[in-house]
Symmetry: C2
Subunit: 180 residues, 2 copies
Amino acid sequence: MGHAPSTVHRLVDAYQDILVSDGERSATLDAIAQRAGVSKGGLTYHFKSKDELASALFERLQALVEADLEVMRADPGQAATYYVKSSLDVASPLERCNMAVTRLAQGSHPEANELLAKCRTQWFDVLMDAVGHEDMVHLVMLLGDGIYFNASLTGTGAMPEETDPATIDRIIGLIGTIRY
Amino acid sequence: MGHAPSTVHRLVDAYQDILVSDGERSATLDAIAQRAGVSKGGLTYHFKSKDELASALFERLQALVEADLEVMRADPGQAATYYVKSSLDVASPLERCNMAVTRLAQGSHPEANELLAKCRTQWFDVLMDAVGHEDMVHLVMLLGDGIYFNASLTGTGAMPEETDPATIDRIIGLIGTIRY
DNA sequence: GTCACTATACCGACTAGTCGGTTTTTTGAG
DNA sequence: CTCAAAAAACCGACTAGTCGGTATAGTGAC
C-alpha cells in the first residue's frame, strides 16, 4: 500500500519536470538522475539512452490521454466544458506530461510530433461526438490550446498574470450563448 | 533599393529560423553561421556572444510588435478580428520572431519571459480599448494563442492537419454572435 | 589603413553513453 | 529459519565528442 514510487517512475517524473520547468536543454542525464535521487549509473541501468526515457514519457502520455478520453466519453454533455477547464490545471499529471512532450516536439523530435498529432485527433473525435458541430469543436479546442499555452508560459513566470479560473467560467458562459 | 539583407540581419534571421524549426538545442553558433552563409569568425565579429544575438532578436520582436499594435490602434473596429487572423499567419515576420522568442522563454530565458509578458500586456491593453469588454478580450486572446500554438506545431509537422483559414472565419462569425 | 569578413586552430566546460565494480534484494536448498 | 548464490539495482569514474567562446593570421574592397 502507498507504494513509494519506483525508481523508474521517479526518473520519468524527473525528466518530465525538468522538461516542463527548464526546457529540453536542461534535461541532461546528470540533472535527471540527480532530481530522481539516483546516480547517473542508476539512470542508465533502467534507460540505456535518452531516447528510451523519451519513449517512457510517450507511453505515459498515451495512458493519461486514454483515461482522459474515457472521462469525456462517460459524460458527453460536459465534455466540452471539461476539456476547456482541464486545460487550466497545469498541475495535473496529464497536462504536465503533455507539456513535457510538447517541449520535445518543439525541439523537433519526430516521435513526439506524431504522438501529439494522434492525441489531438482523438480529442477532436470525442468532442465531435459530444458536440456535433465542427466549428464549435474547433473553437473549443483552440480555446483549450490557448489556455494551455498561456498556462505553460505562466508556469515559467512569463505571463503578466495567471489566467483566472473565474474568467474561464465566464468565457464558457459566453460561448454557451452561441446558437448554431 | 532592394538591399540584399545585411550580414547582421541574416545572422538574426538564421538564429530565428533555427530556433523556430529545430529548437534551442540546434541553434549552435556553428549552425547559425552556416545558415547565414558566414564563417564562425564572421558571426563573432558582429555578436560577441550568444546573448547579444538573443538581444538582437528581442529588439526585433519589440519593433515588430510596436508596428502590429499601431495597425490595431489605427482600426479599432477590426482589431480583434485582425488579432485572431494574424495569429494564423505563421510565415509573417512577427509570428516567426514571436515563436523564436517563445522557444527561448520555454528554455527559461528570463529576459525572453519578461519581453513576452510585456508584449502580451500591450496587446491586451489595445484590445481592451478596442473591444471594451474584459472577458471578450480574454476570449479573443486565448483564441489567438490557440491558433498560434496549433500553427507552431503544424509548422514542425506535428498536427493532424493545418487549421483552415475558412474555419477561422466561421469561428470569428460565431463569436460575433455573442451579446455582451 | 580600415572594415568586414574568411579560415583555422584552440581551450575549458559540459554531455551522452560506457564500464568495472559494489550494494541490495530475491531465491531456493538444506 | 539460515545462508550462500544469483539476480537486480545502483555507483561513479572515464571516454569521446560537442559547444561557446577566444585567438590569430590573412584577404579583398574601399
